[in-house]
């Protein structure tokens, strides 16, 4: 009894010390995230021009967000880019990680650096690079390549066509994030005990079967985490879109973050911009929960 009391006293001290050490981080989060978030929620119910008085307008900003076609389209474009790029990055990232796991050795190390390099590049640099690749007419690298291969009929104005511009942006965003997903998945794969693979080999399993029945189920928690991360990144896409299309032409690649900045800084409607931000936040939450629900299942201990 006395021993348990002593132990609970020690635990309490550890908890208090832990909380004390967390304090600086909490203060930083409070100032940079929580207070702006609360301010943003408040602002989304108000009308404010960035100077002067703030007036409460109730749900008007939210109603305007859903009834204005341009805003609605911008939010939907963000959802599209978020979902497609997340799918691309997760599928590509996991496949690359499997390939790396299979190769290993020195060649694996080189491949790891190569495949991870897109994640290290700044978005603006990538945006400019791909603007040259996807440029219209023969000036674009892709179109020039298609022309040289005799596939001129496939040449396209990739960044000024409603049917392709969002796909191009989503693919680039997904490809860029795939390097990080690859590293996370690969690290998770390295933690799987070798004995499991030895047993599988004794049963005559090839690599495909090992991947499907051992590796993928065991790295599922990591993939779930990666999915949430990439969804958040992709929804916030601003720099890539701005460098490549500035949201145009004719708003066909306009995303929620660009719309928010325009609404706030160009139209002086900070309350409306805050409402767009809140709607985007809720949508990101829904997408993350849906993604995690789809990937739900048992977690294995090993």
């Amino acid at each position: 009894m006395k021993n348990r009391k002593k132990q609970s006293g020690v635990n309490r001290k550890v908890v208090i010390a832990g909380l004390f050490f967390m304090l600086p981080a909490f203060v930083v989060i409070l100032i940079t995230i929580l207070i702006p978030l609360i301010w943003n929620i408040y602002l989304s119910f108000c009308d404010w021009k960035g100077g002067g008085s703030i007036s409460f307008v109730g749900m008007q900003n939210y109603i305007q967000s859903f009834t204005t076609a341009a805003t609605r389209d911008a939010i939907l474009h963000s959802v599209f880019i978020g979902i497609i790029s997340t799918l691309v990055s997760v599928v590509l990232g996991v496949l690359l990680a499997l390939a790396l796991y299979r190769i290993q050795g020195r060649l694996g190390g080189v491949a790891r650096v190569i495949f991870y390099s897109p994640s290290m590049m700044p978005m603006t640099v990538l945006g400019l690079l791909f603007t040259f690749i996807f440029a219209a007419s023969d000036k674009g690298l892709l179109n020039a390549l298609l022309g040289a291969m005799g596939l001129g009929t496939l040449q396209h104005a990739w960044l000024s066509d409603k049917g392709t511009v969002l796909w191009v942006i989503a693919m680039i965003q997904g490809w860029r994030a795939s390097g990080t997903i690859m590293m996370l998945s690969y690290t998770a794969m390295l933690n799987i005990p070798h004995s499991l693979f030895e047993s599988a080999e004794l049963e005559g399993c090839n690599f495909r079967k090992k991947a499907c029945h051992i590796i993928l189920p065991l790295i599922k928690p990591t993939v779930r985490l990666a999915l949430s991360m990439t969804l958040v990144w992709a929804f916030k896409t601003y720099d890539l879109v701005w460098t490549m299309t500035k949201g145009g032409p004719a708003n066909m690649s306009m995303t929620a973050p660009i719309m928010m900045i325009k609404t706030g800084f160009s139209y002086n409607q900070y309350g409306y911009a805050a409402a767009i931000g809140m709607i985007s936040t809720v949508l990101i939450g829904i997408c993350i929960l849906s993604g995690r629900f789809i990937l739900r299942g048992e977690s294995y201990e090993y």
Binding site: L23, P24, K49, G50, A135, S137, G248, P249, F265, Y267
Partner: protein, 441 residues
């Protein structure tokens, strides 16, 4: 025991670190407490004076030059030389981000004391409290006021007062490759009607060259200019500018169709609808390399393009093609370049002194010598190009429908004609909804 001592030490360091950050404000609070009896105005004055003495002179931040402007360095040097006692910080002016920079700085209570901004578009700042009203300063200095070109000061006025002072007049014009005109059998004329322009484009296209090169940010000029010319008389135009005529009006639609025809006929580099996404570099390269015969430009940049072309081919200047039915409706879109002062400046008088110098004869003469068309009566230039580029200055119409609201501005300046090309008449419905919203306000 050692662990305990170490943890106490670490906690103390951390607590000290946290409190150190607050130390300054605590100290400040103490000072504020001691000076609480002082009047607010006196305190502000003292603070200003203290700041002046600390740096040996007033500290001002100026965002008055864009590194790509041909006169940027000259103007910077002139200001530094004129105000040696001021501590001046120059920030580069960047068109896409200037509004964000100014508004963010204002929200953080930091002042960009003098900022380059178009007086024509100051309505975008209405209600924000950001620009300082310069009416009193202007009325108090007759010499300064009388130096400006007649009527030009009106462009910087809104219902909140005189918010910006103009320094230059800028409007679009066409620079042409005379050799390509000749090869295509097109007669070179200083002024062209829209039909003549389209006929010339057809001939140039038939000769194997692209008729027009225009960068995406300036494609909207075709629309804005057409909306100044498509009316029967000035009264109708003014009603449209005041938001009393719908965007779905047949004349607006016809004007948009004319522009859509130009794109759909592959007259604009590189051809097709993707021509609305041509970058500035691509448009310029197409013209300089002789792939495109006509380059859409502004008078302020005409000189620099002329220098880039050099001896490659003979350059000609054509006025913007006119859709006007009568000569008196051959209006031209244009804006006045200029400066504003942010209302949160600590040094309003000093900022105004700099503004007076920037819009005075000395600086504007230097700018005119480098090709700018300036808004000052006392500036003269013998340069033949200056006369050539400034010949349409009197056609510039002082107002445009883009000033109805920020949303209409954004839509017409950055989204058209792309929106009409891709979405047809629904683009006009979109504009009409914005006009109704602006009218309701």
């Amino acid at each position: 025991m050692k662990k305990k001592a170490l943890s106490i030490l670490l906690c103390s360091i951390m607590a000290f670190g946290c409190l150190a950050g607050c130390g300054d404000s605590a100290q400040k609070k103490e000072t504020e407490k001691n000076t609480a009896e002082t009047e607010a105005e006196t305190a502000a004055k003292e603070e200003t004076e203290a700041a002046k003495t600390k740096a040996g002179g007033p500290e001002l931040t100026l965002m008055i030059t864009n590194s790509t402007d041909p006169w940027a360095e000259t103007v910077k040097e002139m200001v530094e030389k004129k105000f040696p006692d001021y501590s001046l910080t120059f920030k580069n002016w960047d068109e896409p981000t200037v509004e964000q920079t100014v508004k963010t700085a204002f929200a953080a209570d930091q002042a960009m004391d003098v900022v380059m901004y178009w007086p024509t578009y100051m309505k975008k700042f209405e209600g924000t409290g950001i620009p300082m009203d310069l009416t009193e300063y202007m009325e108090a200095d007759t010499e300064w006021k009388e130096g400006f070109t007649d009527g030009i000061l009106e462009v910087g006025k809104t219902k909140e007062g005189l918010l910006a002072i103009p320094n230059t007049t800028n409007y679009p014009m066409l620079q042409v490759n005379k050799k390509l005109f000749e090869d295509a059998g097109v007669e070179f004329k200083d002024v062209m009607t829209w039909d003549e322009f389209m006929a010339a484009c057809e001939k140039i296209k038939a000769s194997g060259k692209t008729p027009v090169a225009v960068q995406q940010e300036w494609a909207g000029w075709f629309v804005r200019n057409a909306l100044l010319q498509c009316w029967d008389n000035k009264e109708e135009l003014d009603s449209f500018i005041a938001g009393e005529v719908p965007f779905t009006d047949e004349r607006v639609k016809n004007a948009m169709d004319n522009i859509a025809d130009m794109y759909n006929s592959d007259y604009v580099y590189p051809g097709g609808k993707e021509a609305v996404t041509t970058s500035a570099d691509d448009a310029m390269a197409a013209f300089i390399n002789g792939d495109a015969a006509i380059f859409c430009n502004v008078v302020a940049n005409a000189q620099s393009v002329s220098e880039k072309v050099g001896d490659r081919f003979e350059l000609g200047v054509i006025s913007w093609p006119s859709m006007a039915k009568t000569d008196d409706m051959n209006n031209l879109l244009g804006s006045a370049g200029g400066y504003m002062i942010m209302s949160n400046t600590k040094y309003p008088d000093e900022a105004v002194e700099i503004l007076k110098y920037l819009t005075g004869t000395e600086v504007l003469q230097a700018m005119a010598d480098q090709g700018s068309i300036v808004a000052n009566k006392n500036v003269t230039s013998d340069d033949a190009n200056y006369q050539l580029y400034s010949r349409d200055a009197d056609k510039v119409y002082p107002d445009e429908v883009i000033n109805l609201s920020s949303e209409i501005f954004d839509n017409l300046v950055y989204n058209e004609p792309a929106n009409y090309l891709f979405n047809g008449e629904s683009a006009l419905d979109e504009l009409e909804a914005l006009r109704e919203a602006a009218a309701a306000k």
